[in-house]
Symmetry: C2
Subunit: 142 residues, 2 copies
Amino acid sequence: MNSIDSLSTMLRKQGFRMTPQRLAILKVLSDAGRHLSPSDVYASASKNIPGLTEATVYRTLEFLARQDVVLAAHIGNGKMVYEMAECDHHHLICRACGNTLQIDHALLQKLYQQLEGASGYRLTTSHLTFFGLCPDCKEGGK
Amino acid sequence: MNSIDSLSTMLRKQGFRMTPQRLAILKVLSDAGRHLSPSDVYASASKNIPGLTEATVYRTLEFLARQDVVLAAHIGNGKMVYEMAECDHHHLICRACGNTLQIDHALLQKLYQQLEGASGYRLTTSHLTFFGLCPDCKEGGK
DNA sequence: CTTGCAATTGCAAGAAGTCGCAATAAGGAA
DNA sequence: TTCCTTATTGCGACTTCTTGCAATTGCAAG
């Protein structure tokens, strides 16, 4: 698992600035251990960085996702959520009740290899979201 | 492939109203043959329905997606796009140049069965988006 | 320690999308 | 055809998110 220090060093090496704003946002995500919405991140980070703006939070999340430090995902309500890119995984969400299951990336490894073979692309891990009905809701006949 | 008439009949049977607004939006999507953004849909549909509002377009797209008449997807720029749910497929997008490849759902059939077995969920088809680097861009060493 | 460059941020304006409520209208029953 | 119920829409206010630009600041060089 990458610490904030090693992530910072890596990003600096690539010519990026590690500002207090960026460090605070990274720390919020690192401490959370789950995904957060931009407004969740803003609410927490602005406690440590008075004067932080939401525009900066949005820009920083997008920057960290582009650098693969953070995974972005849509979880079905049209909103983007973010999480530290520590453990590759995907989500399976019940369309009726919203219950969410985490899926290891290992389950998709073969598919990814197959898609690479068929397409010529090199796939990056992304935070996929699958939808379905959970065991409780599919019995209810929705 | 379902015609607008048969989709309308099906929705009416479920107690929904098939208003001129909904028919116009369905027709725009049906004629497009590709995915459209909400503002694309609004621009086209409002030609036929003067007075149509964007609020109605957003609500109708969300309604049609919920009824599985339309597939919604995020294509990497944070925006939602919509397409008739005619041919189950997914997307593979190059993160560098934006080039997009369409992936048949058939390639994911086994994975879906596997996930159903492992989770107890019944998966619905969703419009997944994979990311990677296309053959041209991965050679460029990004 | 100082300086200069260019990346990053704050700010305000604007775009995209959502919500509550009254008015409108789809459609079934009579 | 008329009437009534209730789903749906228009509207305006609001929230969420993005953008351009000037000011600020991280950081490498000296």
